[in-house]
Symmetry: C2
Amino acid sequence: MGCTSGIVHHFIFKKISVEKISIIKIGGNIIDNEVNLASFLSAYAAVEGKKILIHGGGKLATKMAADLDIPQQMVDGRRITDAATLKIVTMVYAGYINKNIVAVLQSKNVNALGICGADANIVPAHKRINVTTDYGFVGDIDAVDTEKITAFLQAGLSLVVAPITHDGAGQLLNTNADTMAQAIATALSSKYEVSLVYSFERKGVLSSIADANSVIPIINPQNYAALKESGQVNEGMIPKLDNAFEALHKGVSRVIIGDALDLLALLNGSGGTTIQKN
Amino acid sequence: MGCTSGIVHHFIFKKISVEKISIIKIGGNIIDNEVNLASFLSAYAAVEGKKILIHGGGKLATKMAADLDIPQQMVDGRRITDAATLKIVTMVYAGYINKNIVAVLQSKNVNALGICGADANIVPAHKRINVTTDYGFVGDIDAVDTEKITAFLQAGLSLVVAPITHDGAGQLLNTNADTMAQAIATALSSKYEVSLVYSFERKGVLSSIADANSVIPIINPQNYAALKESGQVNEGMIPKLDNAFEALHKGVSRVIIGDALDLLALLNGSGGTTIQKN
């Protein structure tokens, strides 16, 4: 055995290098609803192979701020993360939501490990520098430690990631969950064949917000331009789609946007909107 | 290399089996004070070798409950963990406190991984069964996964543990931090030479509460009986000491109780109260 171990390790490494992984981001509106969250987590537990779940906090953080009488400053529709707000998102995202998801997944035989970007220094970041607006304690991602993440996955652990990062100098930072999912998916594409799923409360990218079934099955650079010009793709979806195209150009194999309650259909290609590189 | 790997592994295993580890529990009154916490964490970062930090939440959870107008039910001086209180301790312990400690330790080159007992199923527990009083969502520990903890430690990670466990059926549970520290220390004594430190705001076990310097240097079964009879050891300290003796009888090498702000002295034997098995 001893003499062959070198070859064995080489073979295992080769195998890992083409292994598939699903990076699934769950949107706030699903987390806000206990029944929907439970339904999503049952589907998530059934996803085969390696997987990582990235969650936001939806309206729970906003509600907590209101309950604590902490005013939320918004600039251009974006929340300013002051010290009090950072404390709330850290409590709600990395504490309440993350640990409840972990406990539910454990009950479904998924050996979940709940972390944020500061844990094991998985996602180092820096406080956003913006000349016109100070967004407060908002983190822009510097790197993703794929070695550590891979080690956790190889140990049979399924990561549940809260979108809180740190600056390496002791400061926690609030980070956009879509961006966190894209950064982790992109980084892992050097080691895995990555499927990135943005799951939320809609069936996919809709050509008409009024029609919940007007799902655009495929978006590629060609029709994307037209969809934006015609205004069929609404403004809120544009950053998500730009994010998706960027992920594809950085090595992610496929990006799907769709209904969190129909997760398995999104992964097997029978539902949602698939974003294509070309 | 391949041919010798078997021997190498055997040697490494032998070495690990007698390696030292420090399990340090930090008391609430230190966590409540930012300056004291920062000072403690600097000392903690300087602790050599493998180490695990277990923290409670002190008055922060109580303050949060008050801020949210959630009444705290107490029975015999013990808080009843109803659903609203469980949500608060999960947010405050596993979220706010745990992640802030992780971020500070990362800034001091300690590769901290913040977890609770549900993460990686490290500490399975069950809801406390009590015929006279229902303490609510309080967890009594069933087991500690020493294999997983050892794997994290071997990967160079230093665990920061929040005293929240789970029942394996999706329910988070509030667990006493002293008990959590004792359970982890006891379980790891099968693989390591364990030093268990209960650090708090006093210099050690005092023979007179009025005199902050009346530290009893050594407590063993002989003088413990006398100290209890004479009432020198106050009631609040008795569960901690019973806990300490139990840990020693279950394989922990040494237990020290003392000042969190003098941590290195506690570990090098020059401070605090040492509890001895015989």
